[in-house]
Amino acid sequence: MRIPFVQLPFIFLLLLASQVRAVDFEKQIQPVLEAKCLSCHNPNLRKGKLSLSTLSEIRDADEGLLISGNHRDSLLHQVTIPLEPGEKPEMPKKGEALTEAEAKLLAEWIDEGANWPEGIVLREASKADASWWAFQALRKFDAKDSIDGFIDEKLSEKGLSRNDPASARELIRRVTYDLHGLPPSPEEAKRFEESTQSDFEAAYTALINRLLASPRYGERWGRHWLDVVRFGESKGYERNVILDNIWPFRDYVIRSLNEDKPFDQLITEHLAGDVVGKGNPDIEVGTVFLVAGPYDDVGNKDAKAAAIIRANTLDGMITATGSAFMGLTVNCAKCHDHKFDPIEQKDYYRLRAAFEGVKQGERVMAKAEDRKAHAELIKPLNDEKGKLNKAIKELENAAAKRVAESPSILPEVTRSKMDRTGTTDEFPSVLAKAIRLTPYSNDSNPNANSVRIDEFEVWTDETESRNVALSSNGGTAEAQGRKVEDSAENAANAYGPVLVNDGEFGKRWISSGNPTLTIHFSKPEKINRVVYSSDRPAELPTLPKMVFVGEYKLEVSTDSENWKIVSESWNRPPLNKLFLRSRQLRFGASKEEKSKLASLKKELSTVEAKLGAIKPLPTVWAGNFVQPEKPTHLAVGGDPNKPADEVVPASFAKLPKEVPAYALTSKTPEAERRHELAKWICHPDNPLTLRVLANRVWHYHFGTGIVNTPSDFGYMGGKPSHPELLDFLASRLKKHSWKWKPLHREILLSKTYRQSADYRKEAASIDADSRLLWRVPPRRLSAEEIRDSILTIAGKLNLNAAGGPGFRLYKFTQDNVCTYFPLDHHGPETWRRAVYHQNPRAATMDLLTDFDCPDPALATPRRATTTTPLQALTLMNHSFTTEMAGFFAARLEQDAEDIAGRVNSAFQLAFGRPPTEHEREAAVKVVRDFGLPALTRTLLNSNELIYVN
């Protein structure tokens, strides 16, 4: 820049002054610009086509923006000060204007020469920075620290104190539901109560140990984890196809929890099970986590749209990883730097680079020895198949050659070609009560026989010829059509044979299985002509949608038992070379060749049957891994069709500080990328992961976490109610090598957990939600617990049916897209724990849905507890309740002889207590008047059944 001579002394003076009191760009200017300008003028948004991110960008945009040494003429100064005193300056358009002091500093900085230290790139400031509480190292603790100590400290600050200990009855019901999601049996409760009388401590410790050692524990806590990782068993989106081979992950999670697998190991298996457990299906199955979310598999020929779908699929993995393990809403940084947390947009794409090679899909999951055994079984059969195919081909070639040499072997062509827009078959007049069309093939492939027909007319031999096939003339059509079950309307009319004789051309019958079409007339008729088609209006005769009859025979009958051929297709021209060859075989082969061919084909089908009988190696929807061909790029505004800088798989730029950073390259094998990410997330010094895990455990024990947004530890999430306690629990988890069971034990043995749930008005007036835990907050059971409890009380819960393919409370139908219909009746095969339900997306299942079992479209770190009239309708009226009420009643009849005894037993089973006198009287009256099921149905609907203190 040319500096006018007259200004030189002035600048010299300024430079002198600046040595005394220069504006510090990094401390005084950068924060102002980042807070007030960068949210619009960043490289991503470029509002007004301007980014203030680097000096060169500013210079490139407009020389007049920033004139070193001259704030008065610099646009940047002009637009950020009021034109008239008191007015709002032109910029920033959104948010607060620069303060007077800030504007003055900016002017001084410009006058001093607009010194922008090299390499500094401005970014929009997030609300929280790296000093945010969640990213700091865990506090240190000593031996005298305890859960109760931290709780009591907060309570006493508010002048509160803990409740008295809970009774033995209250405690066993609470802890059994807590660890198993099931009620204790009356006998268990009684035994526990008795054993506490001699030594409460020992009895309670024994109870906890027993509950933690039971496989029921994994079923309950596994369900929690499945919520967190958005595990669902259909693909979601438009087609929503059911996934029948993803359940092994559910069993793996349950198994892992029961084994008390360390969570750093579990997370590593989720991200890279195929790496750390190569060849071991029990561990490899962990990678289902990556692909357990919704997946749009419709397929898109529009390349831009396909790129967006792929970006969304990867976004699901990134979101799940950030929220489940780190409590971070990384997904908010897809389009721009995170507005609230110190996560750069680049960080998002660093994660994307780690997952770039992950594809949705199933993969074979078998041990090496099983794979080998399978290959050995298959090989000889495949060899045999090859030999047979070769022999068949040789014979066929010989026959074809013979016909080619003497074409007269084939029937003479006397009629016209098959025509989708209308084909006529004329034959000598014949009396018939029915006519039957048997397609040997369709008109596209001589070896396929699925056909479509929009109309099939049968005309009488008389001057005023009538179409006697027409339904309005009494004709009926009979055939197997494609089945659609998702609505009564579609079942009958979408593709059924009724469409061939309705007098309309638009819709067609689509054959399914045996393609034979039979038309019955209302009475015997003299007929001599049929006309049929797949596309009568001749809209699109070439489309596969219109596929028509190829080779066929046409027969008539008067009794529907004896059939007489009236026409065949052999005297029509072959449709193409393939059809010609097929006819050559049919007519050219000698008798011996035909019988030899038949026996070869029989042998072939035997071999194929044997192959089919070999159990295929199991597959699991656990994803496939492919080395990405191209590097990952940051996407401007989150749009994958606007790639910007290359990004490598790496740790986040700013956090967490305690964990060593890593950076890989775009050539790093994709398996290593995921493994490195897992190591970073599970680093022993990563305070975030430990805090998030510890908080989840606390959350499920007390209904609310110390942080009440368990998957969001950022600025928008809740602040910890007990920050020291959270760190204490995280430290304990670390000490226990990331195992949950020892942590459970410490929490469950605390006095805090063991206090009663009793309500105290004065305490509630200070802490209504009992967040500070002056009592254990009562809670409503989850949907799964309610169903499991009802089954338990009715004596019908099948605990042995643990694991394996899930059961369904819906009818599944598919016609391109899938539909799920809730069942009106739940058979014995469904009397399993609800965790074994095959949960599809975007479906509703009565009780489960009504009581807030979430749609696994998104992760659910915290279940809702809603109250709706629908719950009442379902629980009162669905046959599940009435049936279980019946079993419950039958059970009571076994328990006691008299009504009073049965009523007593009913209350014990449902509530774990005897009835009061008043309750007994009322219950006995209902039983006398309407029978036991009237009582049991009522108990299954009661509040006490589904609330735990």
Partner: protein, 469 residues
């Protein structure tokens, strides 16, 4: 600010004695919470009817006349001579198989394939410049219904229920009426409560199928039911005495009473036999085309639900993508003419009759009617077919009724209908306007979920003032 509102609302609900979360909230309460304290929108609409034609109903064959497309039919689309869309390659421009002609006082050109709907043109406000984020039916449908192309978000009806609650205790606040032919693409995600409390999901019903679990089990007499309910009340009261300070317990008792009321009133709403023969005829309730009759019955059901205080009704005309394109819904990939000559007669007369009926009863004064679909169709024909492929870049929606100007058209596509061009309108703008008419500031209606205060309008949306009275 929003967080504060949420907390206040939650706190209010949990502490107000006898207040049942989301059940029978008064308008007053909600207005205070979600609209601006002063100068905020004034509610013009009390309830909403949203008619949805799934499968991407073609804007250029139903609503938006394109003279240039007629003129250039058979020629390549200028600038996009060879382009691929959802199903692949496209051919030349293809004019609509049906001529358009002037309709109403406004003289708007209207497709002759919808002769009955043309009667209402002077009451309709068209948005001809809509665009979608997705070119796939499922994500497109939920984008249109929830403002997000991913699953898991609350629909407009759920948000409305959340904001305004119910107008009646006897019926649900939000009902989705599905077509005889089944559910729309992405099914239940279209009327989901998403992360909002479960009471805001739509209750599913239609003229052919009542609300699930509404009926008393067959083997239980009303007398037994009464005795059971009495005993239940007694048990719950005793339990409540032992557990004061847990408002959920009272709420649940109240929910059982509401369920009982619903059991009485819902069958009355669904009983269409009391409708007059002139109504039956006007709607086509007994039409020999049973698909049309089925939809006509659903139209009548929709009116009855709205009359009796349901806040938000989704009414579907057609269903999902079948194994054959365009068979069960408006997805005319291959044979536009044949497909729409099946679908239009099903839609036209019953919908027009419903609009006339609402008008006649004075209900259009405070009922907002919306018509929507997930996206539009290409002005070209799909290669090798006489149908049109998906077009996410242009489609039409319209509104009518409470607070909406009649006989206006807002925005336009380019001369061929390929892209929204004039006053491009997003789904978020559409719903910003809908919420505005309901007296809600769309930027204030939010709920925290997984790190973000979520809105129906995401982080976008401008009220379309040009179509408001």
């Amino acid at each position: 600010m929003t967080d504060l509102l949420q907390n206040t609302r939650r706190h209010f609900l949990s502490t107000m004695p006898g207040a049942m979360a989301g059940l029978g909230l008064t308008d007053l309460l909600s207005r205070e919470l979600f609209s601006a304290p002063a100068g905020g929108p004034v509610a013009k609409a009390k309830r909403v009817l949203q008619i949805f034609c799934p499968g991407a109903a073609s804007h250029i064959d139903l609503w938006e006349h394109k003279p240039e497309l007629e003129k250039m039919s058979g020629n390549p689309l200028p600038g996009e001579e060879d382009f691929s869309s959802f199903q692949g390659k496209n051919g030349n421009l293809m004019k609509s198989p049906w001529p358009f002609k002037e309709a109403g006082q406004s003289g708007k050109m209207f497709s002759t394939n919808l002769p009955n709907m043309a009667r209402h043109v002077d009451d309709m406000a068209f948005c001809h410049s809509m665009w979608s984020k997705s070119n796939t039916h499922g994500p497109g449908c939920i984008f249109m219904n929830t403002g997000f192309a991913d699953e898991g978000f609350p629909s407009a009806g759920a948000w409305t229920s959340y904001a305004l609650g119910s107008l009646t205790d006897d019926l649900p606040a939000y009902v989705a009426i599905t077509d005889l032919r089944g559910e729309p693409p992405n099914g239940k995600a279209n009327w989901s409560n998403g992360f909002l409390p479960a009471q805001h999901q739509a209750i599913l019903m239609n003229a052919q199928k009542p609300i699930r679990n509404l009926k008393l089990p067959r083997n239980i007499s009303p007398k037994e039911e009464g005795a059971s309910r009495d005993l239940l009340r007694l048990l719950n009261e005793k339990h409540l005495e032992k557990n004061p300070g847990l408002s959920e317990l009272q709420a649940r008792m109240h929910a059982y009473e509401l369920a009982a009321k619903m059991q009485l009133s819902a069958p009355e709403v669904s009983d269409l036999s009391s409708e007059s023969s002139s109504t039956r005829k006007a709607y086509g309730m007994d039409d020999p085309n049973h698909l049309k009759a089925g939809y006509a019955n659903n139209c009548v059901l929709a009116r009855r639900l709205l009359e009796r205080g349901v806040r938000f009704v989704n009414l579907y005309c057609a269903s999902r993508a079948s194994g054959v394109d365009g068979l069960l819904n408006w997805d005319a990939h291959k044979t536009l003419k044949g497909d729409y000559e099946r679908h239009c007669p099903i839609f036209d007369q019953p919908t027009a009759a419903l609009l006339s009926d609402l008008k006649q009863r004075g209900m259009l004064e405070d009922t907002l009617v919306l018509w929507s679909t997930e996206f539009g169709r290409m002005p070209t024909h799909q290669a090798g077919t006489v149908g049109r492929d998906h077009n996410p870049d242009a489609f039409t929606c319209w509104m009518m009724g409470a607070g909406v100007k009649g006989g206006v058209s807002y925005g336009a596509t380019d001369p061929f209908g390929r892209r929204a061009e004039v006053n491009k309108t997003s789904v978020w703008d559409f719903y910003a306007t809908v919420l505005h008419l309901l007296g809600i500031d769309h930027q204030k209606l939010s709920a925290y979920h997984n790190g973000i205060d979520r809105r129906l309008t995401d982080v976008h949306g401008h009220v379309i003032n040009q179509i408001l009275v």
